[in-house]
């Protein structure tokens, strides 16, 4: 059957289940629910500290086949997922399902656990490195499920994703399980992605390398949700938090794209008092922020908020008074962690507050402008950030689909070609974000506006910007690169890409 972005999907996928096809970004479904949570505790009063992970697993009643969850705030410096799985493997557990908000290269030992049958299921919002390659090559027993950041919170709250035991990396924790992410040697910022896990998992284990006297203030995740506390030597390496690119690009092509994007924002009419803005941590995206910063200063605009993964650059804008607040679901560098520790306007938010489409109001819906990246874009503006052009998993939505759907203006910034590959394609390898939620594509050679946004196109043309059709941009690129051969159709499904509402927008095939 075909879904709303014209992808052919089976009705049933072995190891995943019945497929609910993607119907469109804003299609009303049944009224969402929050699941019922059974308070299953083994009367621990006061001191919840256990001596080992083994003891925690025993007390949680962990058995083969259960789902255990992790958050990714320590990013590529995280040692907690590896530590827990190492212990689970040693104790002979099999057939575990992992619900990790992201998987990074540091999680390479997971490949071995997949080979040995310790782990047979995985769901995540973003995946890169050796585990991503192994999944693409078909090493995981059941298809990987890809969520968005908001979609994962939704799935946990709704009960679509049921977590038996949540293992929370807790940078600062007391004996009763009050947790924060801003203190301690592994301080990584507010634990926004762990909130739904803490509230809805059957059992919650805080793993900490900084056990402090009661009470551990500020309390971000409170003792009412936590079953046990396990002290360990180290949660990981905080230097690994620093996300890919946190420096403004110096590449003249990248700067030209950023300047065009800033001109689009200016011409859109959205850059005014109470402006709200989000950008990723890529070099071009940060350069857009730099141009926006100058425009805001010049026009004496005070913005409402900046959101997302937060870098030191956005912290500077907050401190200059360009925004009244920052909504931070995770820190992308240590300057952001430091800011969150001392500035109450640097507000931590949960993944649900950030981006869940089914709650009573997510921050993404308050966004004016979102700057997005892309690996490929098709002529309907559908974006791929999940796989590369060879079909290998290299990322995933994270907040891409959520912010695109929520923001009044979502702009994809990209070079027209990357190492000979034209970015605009007749068909993208994998659809991550539906084109109906993408308003404009900005490249070094010109700007394409989604035909749904005739109003925007008119504004940009009136401002004298270089507006083209997406077909024209594709032709310019292909004149340089030639037309790429398309890949042979895939056969075995290795990953299911869920849109934020839990419907299936695409699948990834074995390579």
């Amino acid at each position: 059957m075909l879904n709303a972005v014209r992808r052919e999907l089976p009705e049933y996928i072995e190891g995943y289940g019945q497929v609910k096809t993607f119907q469109g970004a804003n299609v009303e479904q049944d009224k969402p629910v929050r699941r019922q949570v059974v308070i299953d505790k083994d009367s621990v009063d006061g001191n919840k500290v256990l001596s080992s992970l083994q003891e925690a697993m025993a007390r949680c009643g962990l058995t083969d086949g259960m789902t255990i969850s992790f958050h990714h705030h320590l990013r590529n410096g995280d040692h907690v997922l590896n530590m827990v799985l190492e212990e689970a493997a040693r104790l002979g557990f099999k057939n575990l399902k992992i619900a990790a908000s992201s998987i990074f290269p540091v999680h390479a030992p997971l490949v071995r656990h997949m080979e040995n049958g310790v782990v047979t299921g995985l769901c995540t919002n973003y995946i890169s490195g050796p585990v991503a390659e192994a999944v693409t090559h078909g090493l995981l027993h059941t298809p990987l499920v890809m969520h968005t950041h908001g979609g994962r919170a939704r799935a946990i709250e709704a009960g679509d994703l049921s977590v038996d035991v949540a293992f929370l990396a807790a940078p600062s924790c007391d004996a009763c399980g009050n947790i924060n992410g801003v203190n301690g040697p592994a301080a990584c910022g507010f634990l926004g992605y762990a909130i739904a896990d803490a509230h809805y998992a059957r059992r919650v284990v805080a793993i900490t390398d900084n056990l402090v006297e009661y009470p551990n203030c500020p309390v971000e995740i409170s003792q009412e949700y936590v079953d046990y506390v396990v002290p360990v030597a180290s949660l990981g390496d905080v230097q690994g938090i620093i996300s890919g690119t946190t420096m403004i690009t110096r590449d003249p092509v990248g700067l030209r794209i950023a300047q065009f994007a800033a001109e689009v924002i200016a011409a859109s009419g959205l850059l005014k008092e109470n402006f709200s803005f989000q950008t990723g941590a890529g070099g071009i995206s940060l350069a857009v922020a730099a141009y926006v910063r100058e425009m805001m200063k010049k026009q004496k605009i005070t913005g409402s908020f900046a959101s997302g993964g937060i870098t030191g650059y956005l912290v500077e804008m907050l401190e200059e008074g360009l925004f009244r607040a920052v909504f931070d679901v995770q820190c992308f560098d240590l300057l952001a962690v430091e800011s969150q520790r001392r500035n109450r306007r640097h507000q931590g938010i949960s993944a649900s507050f950030y981006a869940n489409p089914h709650n009573k109001g997510a921050v993404v819906n308050n966004l004016d402008v979102m700057i997005l990246g892309a690996t490929e874009i098709d002529k309907d503006f559908n974006v791929n950030v999940t796989t590369d052009s060879n079909g290998v998993l290299i990322g995933g939505s994270g907040g891409h689909s959520d912010t695109a759907a929520g923001a009044k203006l979502s702009i994809v910034v990209t070079k027209l070609t990357k190492v000979r590959l034209p970015i605009i394609r007749d068909a993208v390898t994998t659809i991550t974000t539906p084109g109906e939620t993408v308003d404009a594509v900005v490249t070094e050679r010109g700007i394409a506006v989604n035909p749904r946004r005739g109003d925007l196109r008119q504004r940009l043309e009136q401002a004298g910007l270089l507006v083209m059709t997406i077909d024209e941009l594709q032709e310019i690129a292909q004149a340089m690169t030639g037309k790429p051969d398309s890949l042979p159709p895939g056969r075995d499904i290795v990953a299911v890409v869920e849109y934020r509402d839990g419907t299936v927008i695409d699948v990834v095939y074995k390579v």
């Binding site: 052009s389 060879n390 990357k418 190492v419 000979r420 590959l421 030639g482 790429p484 051969d485």
Partner: protein
């Protein structure tokens, strides 16, 4: 015409191609191509290399090319340079 000795041109930088040529014991153009865009442009790059060599009047040659996403004009320039270096006395 045949080349006289081995020669090379290009680099392994992104968007470039590294081309090594040497006299061949076999008949014709023997090409060993490795490219990061093999699946999308492999046939195309192979044709561009062979066409360049043929235009230069070379009959028998062994070519090893490692492509890092070079565009056609880069590929042709690197191949031509390597061949001309291999023809120098």
């Amino acid at each position: 015409m045949d080349i006289k000795h081995p020669a090379k041109a290009g680099s392994l930088e992104s968007n470039d191609i590294y081309v090594m040529v040497e006299p061949s014991s076999e008949e014709g153009i023997v090409l060993e191509l490795d490219s990061i865009v093999m699946r999308q442009f492999g046939r195309h790059i192979e044709a561009a290399i062979k066409e360049t060599v043929t235009k230069l009047g070379i009959d028998n040659i062994r070519i090893v090319a490692k492509d890092r996403g070079a565009l056609d004009f880069t590929i042709k320039a690197r191949v031509e340079t390597a061949v001309k270096r291999a023809l120098e006395e």
